[in-house]
Every structure is written in structure tokens, then in C-alpha cells.
């Protein structure tokens, strides 16, 4: 379990301290306007950046106290963009940073339907395909290929993983992430700009504004029209229909 004890940053971009738990089996969506501190928070959760106050603990131990390699087997990060200097074949890139066997890699490639692209160079892929490659690499790092039938209990952190995906791929990726959380006991924490994806697939949502978490809870509790209109400064269509409990966020004409 990932636990935040009064975690805050004082140096700009500052972040107001928060305490919370990210239990296994949960998909948490972090949403907020540009510059709200979503990516900063993700760097804190990954241990890349040490908080000025408080600490982030995995299974009770502060992240900086973990052995880097052991931590890498428990926690993986998918960055916002993949920028490579060289043209790695997809299959080799997916295996980077893991001890996965070729069969494991093939399993993960298959999960994300990347097998047809496996021999292609990453620089020749579209933005959406690159994003799926990065997700596949993170899953491989967490040892998912081998442990398809057992809970892995890993922590997967993703920074806008759907930003370049078409709606079909968005749906499939979000289903996969929710499935990983529910069926494999993973903690999935995902920065999202698409509020409807957060509403539909997240168990919980954190809403950030100017380096502060201003709301946390179920999508129904957080993604209210009034709150979103105030935080994002956007006019929303209050008459948007709901077919189930998930809120629907539509812009007003």
C-alpha cells in the first residue's frame, strides 16, 4: 500500500501537504487544470522527487529507503511523453528495465495488441502507439507477464496515458487499468485530463488546483458541475444526462 504522510513541497512549484492512502485494488484518477501540480504529485508518489515535508511510504517504508531495484519491481511509472534519441525496436524497449523472459514480453505485448508492431522502431510509431508501448514496458517491469493469474500488488503510476489515444483505445486501456486494479490487486494512479474517463473508470478522484488537493472522493462526489465549473473556469452543460451513477461532463455550447 502506498501511504502519504503529510507530503508537501515548499519550493516552487509548491504543493500543499496531503495525507492519504492508496490501497491495493484501487484506481485513483488525479485531475485538475493545467499547472495544478498533477505531474509534481506523480513525481512525489514515484519517489523521483523527495518531498520537502512528510514522506511517501510503500508497505510502511519510505520510498527513499527502498533499494532502487527492489522498488522498481513494485512500482513503475509511465511518463507523459516518450522521447528517444535512438530507434529502439518495440520488443526490446518493452523489455527494458525488467527481467522478463521473451515469453513474458510477448504476453504483455499481446495484452496491449502490440504484437504486430513488435519489430518496428519506436520512432516510427504514432503518439498513441508509443503510449501503449510505454504502458507495456511498465507492466513488464512489474512482472505482469509471468503473474497473470496471481495478484502482483504493484503500484502503477501513469501521467496522461490516454492523451494521444483514440476513444476505442482509451476505453480498452482504462478497462485494462481497472482490471489490473480489481483482479490483480494493483494500485493504479493515473493523471487524466479527460474527466469522463475519470468519472467512468476511477474508484476515487483527487481534484487539484494550484498545488493543492481541493477535493477527494468518489467521482460522483468530486466531479460535480459546480465544482468543475469553478476550478476549470469552464461552462458546463448541466442538463447532460446520466445513464448510471457516473457523472457526465459536457461543455456548454
Amino acid at each position: 500500500m502506498l501511504t502519504l504522510y503529510n507530503v508537501g513541497v515548499t519550493a516552487p512549484p509548491a504543493f500543499v501537504p496531503i495525507s492519504d492512502r492508496l490501497p491495493p485494488g484501487e484506481l485513483l484518477a488525479i485531475v485538475g487544470p493545467n499547472g495544478a501540480g498533477k505531474s509534481t504529485l506523480l513525481t512525489l508518489l514515484s519517489g523521483y522527487r523527495r518531498p520537502d515535508r512528510g514522506s511517501v511510504c510503500l508497505d510502511g517504508m519510505p520510498l527513499h529507503g527502498w533499494n532502487a531495484r527492489q522498488l522498481a519491481r513494485r512500482r513503475a511509472l509511465v511518463a507523459q511523453k516518450l522521447t528517444l534519441g535512438f530507434d529502439w525496436p518495440v520488443r526490446d524497449l518493452v523489455a527494458l528495465g525488467s527481467t522478463a523472459s521473451p515469453d513474458d514480453v510477448e504476453a504483455v505485448l499481446s495484452m496491449l495488441d502490440l504484437q504486430p508492431l513488435a519489430a518496428r522502431g519506436v520512432q516510427h510509431l504514432s503518439g498513441g502507439e508509443s503510449q501503449r508501448v510505454m504502458v507495456a514496458r511498465a507492466l513488464c517491469q512489474l512482472g505482469l507477464g509471468r503473474s497473470m493469474s496471481m495478484p502482483s500488488g504493484g503500484v502503477l503510476l501513469l501521467d496522461e496515458p490516454t492523451s494521444a489515444l483514440d476513444i476505442g483505445q482509451q476505453q480498452r486501456l482504462m478497462r485494462l487499468l481497472r482490471g489490473l486494479a480489481e483482479m490483480h490487486g494493483m494500485t493504479v494512479c493515473c493523471v487524466l485530463h479527460d474527466l469522463n474517463l475519470a468519472a467512468r473508470y476511477a474508484h476515487r478522484v483527487w481534484l487539484l488546483e494550484r498545488g493543492e488537493r481541493i477535493a477527494a472522493g468518489t467521482p460522483e462526489a468530486v466531479l460535480t458541475p459546480g465544482c468543475l465549473a469553478r476550478v476549470f473556469g469552464a461552462e458546463l452543460d448541466a442538463s447532460a444526462s446520466r445513464t448510471d451513477q457516473a457523472p457526465l461532463v459536457l461543455l456548454a455550447p
Partner: protein, 350 residues
């Protein structure tokens, strides 16, 4: 489509996987070719020798003296300097995630060269007995200073911008080092001037055992450091944030590569002058053949760099025999057009 974890998986057999490469075969082949080149180079020169002399059948004591005192240390130096320059080129390209990073283009060699020239002109007399070791130290410190400067500049910008910043920084350092070198040449004595101009062209012609032993002591540890950095350099290609998430201590890796490169390139420049483009040419060609993974690219670059410099140096001392062409001219004649071709292609090969 993306399959949910509950979906049946499509497993592929191990033989279909693309992860397995034959690194051992590639490295064994390169080692054999390099050893063969070494043998041929050992036989070639102003005094031609047949292979049987190596079994003890020396035609004259002079032939043995020439072989042992001149040719062998020169070959040892050529192999080590070639391996170091090509290996450091591959490592720097990995570190900067940039296919144009090269000790010469980025100004490392010029920085080391300027420091060595400073040592020769201003300090050698004052420092007394340090001699060649003073040159080693000056070369190392010069390369280290430029390495840290260039690295700090490259870190401040990302991706495409960083490419231009690095090349401009290299250009500025090369120009500055050239200008300061001119000032040093102006105040140097005739003997110092002759020493500097011969050394500046890049040549192994003064290689004796003292220089070869210096290389044998300093370069293998630097090569070993670089080889140990290969898995880290692979991870660094993902970007620092993702690489950290995959367990990489990026600052430690960078320190190790910068120090190893500065030590190795500094030594190479102190011993053999500025031998250009080896660090650009060799990793580029190999990356097209072997892919970008550093576990194979780094040792293959080192072996190929050694091979190329042994061949180039053999050509340098036999083409116009008994006169010698500086080997740096040959590598620059090969590397310069290749670099222009890369720029004309616009898109850099992997």
C-alpha cells in the same frame, strides 16, 4: 485491441521473440578480426616481417629492436586509443541521448588538447620531472572541465534544442581552444612549437613503451567503467523520470560515464593528439547493424575502434613510407565526409 487481463493470451514461442541477439558471435567475430589486423599490422612497416619471426626467427637484432621498441608499443597504443575514443563516443551518445555526441565535436578533445598545450608551453619546465604524467593529468583535467561544462549545458535543455546547444557549445569550445592554442603557439619556443604541431595533428609516431604503459594503466579501467554503465545507459534512453522508476540511479551513472570519458579521452589526447571522428563514425555504423542497445554496442564499438585505428595507423606509416601521414588526418578524412553525409540526410540514423 487492448486485451483485458482476463482475456486469453496469445503466447509466442521463444524462437519467435526478438530479444535474443547473438552478441557473443558478434563480439567473437570482431575480436578475431581485430587480432588478425593486429598481426598483419605487426608484420607491416618499413622493415617488413614474416609471421615466422614471431616464433623467434628474427632476421637481425635490429629487426627485433624495431619491432619491440617501436612497433609493438605503437600497436598497443593504437588499439587502446581506438577502443577508448569509439567507446567514449558510444557512451556519450547514450548519455546525451543524441547521435551527434562525440568527444571531438563536443570539444572534449580540444579542451584536453588545450590543457596539454598549456602544460607543454607554460608548466612543463616548472614542474620538472612529471613529464608525460603531467601531460596525462593536464589532458584528464581539460577533458573533465569541458565534459562538465557541456553536460551542464545539455541538461538545461531538452531534445531537439539540446542537440543544437551541444553542437554550438562544441563549436564554441573548439574555436576558443583553437584561439588559445594560437596564443600558446605564439609564445612557445621553436622546440615546443614543433612538438605541439606534430602532436596536434594526431599521431602515434612517438609511441614508446612509456606512453603505451601509461595507456595500459589508465585506459582499461575507463573502458571497464563504460562497459559497466551499459545497462544504465539503456535505461536512461527512456528519459530520466521513467529510468528512475525502473531503478536507475541516473546521477551516479552520469558521474561514472563523465569521469570515465574524461579520464580516457584526456589520456588519449595527451598520448596521441586529437584523433577526430572515431567516436562518431564507429558507433553510428554499428548502431545501424546491431541496434541501439549498449550492452552490445559498447563492447562492439571498442573492438571496432581498436580495429579501425590499427588499420588507419598501419596505412599512415606504410602509404608514404618512409615518411608518415598523421593518423588523425586519415580518421578525419574518413569521418568528415561521413558527418556531412549525416547532416545532408537530415534524419539521423537510429
Amino acid at each position: 485491441m487492448i486485451r483485458s487481463p482476463a482475456s486469453p493470451l496469445r503466447w509466442r514461442s521463444r524462437n519467435e521473440g526478438g530479444l535474443a541477439r547473438p552478441p557473443a558471435t558478434v563480439l567473437a567475430a570482431l575480436t578475431l578480426i581485430t587480432l588478425l589486423a593486429l598481426l598483419i599490422a605487426a608484420m607491416s612497416g618499413s622493415i617488413g616481417l614474416s609471421p615466422k619471426v614471431l616464433l623467434g626467427d628474427w632476421p637481425s637484432p635490429l629487426a627485433w629492436q624495431v619491432w619491440w621498441q617501436l612497433r609493438l608499443p605503437r600497436l598497443v597504443l593504437a588499439a587502446l586509443v581506438g577502443a577508448m575514443l569509439a567507446g567514449s563516443g558510444a557512451a556519450m551518445q547514450g548519455l546525451f541521448r543524441n547521435p551527434l555526441a562525440d568527444p571531438t565535436l563536443l570539444g572534449l578533445a580540444s579542451g584536453a588538447g588545450l590543457a596539454v598545450a598549456l602544460w607543454v608551453v607554460l608548466l612543463e619546465g616548472a614542474a620538472g620531472t612529471l613529464g608525460l604524467y603531467g601531460q596525462f593529468l593536464a589532458g584528464f583535467l581539460g577533458a573533465l572541465g569541458v565534459c562538465v561544462l557541456v553536460f551542464a549545458l545539455g541538461e538545461r535543455q531538452r531534445d531537439q534544442e539540446a542537440l543544437f546547444t551541444l553542437l554550438l557549445a562544441g563549436l564554441a569550445i573548439n574555436t576558443l581552444a583553437g584561439a588559445l592554442g594560437g596564443v600558446l603557439a605564439f609564445i612557445a619556443s621553436d622546440e615546443q612549437l614543433r612538438q605541439l604541431s606534430l602532436w596536434g595533428m594526431g599521431s602515434l609516431s612517438h609511441a614508446l613503451w612509456s606512453a603505451a604503459l601509461g595507456a595500459l594503466i589508465g585506459i582499461p579501467p575507463a573502458l571497464w567503467w563504460l562497459l559497466r554503465s551499459a545497462p544504465g545507459l539503456d535505461l536512461l534512453q527512456l528519459g530520466e523520470l521513467t529510468a528512475h522508476g525502473a531503478g536507475l540511479d541516473a546521477p551516479r551513472l552520469k558521474r561514472r560515464v563523465v569521469l570515465a570519458t574524461a579520464l580516457g579521452v584526456g589520456l588519449c589526447v595527451a598520448l596521441a593528439g586529437i584523433i577526430g571522428f572515431l567516436g562518431l563514425l564507429v558507433p553510428h555504423c554499428l548502431r545501424l547493424w546491431l541496434g541501439p542497445g549498449h550492452r552490445l554496442l559498447l563492447p562492439a564499438s571498442m573492438l571496432s575502434g581498436a580495429l579501425l585505428l590499427i588499420v588507419a595507423d598501419t596505412l599512415a606509416r606504410t602509404l608514404a613510407s618512409p615518411a608518415e601521414i598523421p593518423v588523425g588526418l586519415i580518421t578525419s578524412l574518413l569521418g568528415g565526409p561521413y558527418f556531412l553525409w549525416l547532416l545532408l540526410k537530415r534524419r539521423m540514423p537510429c
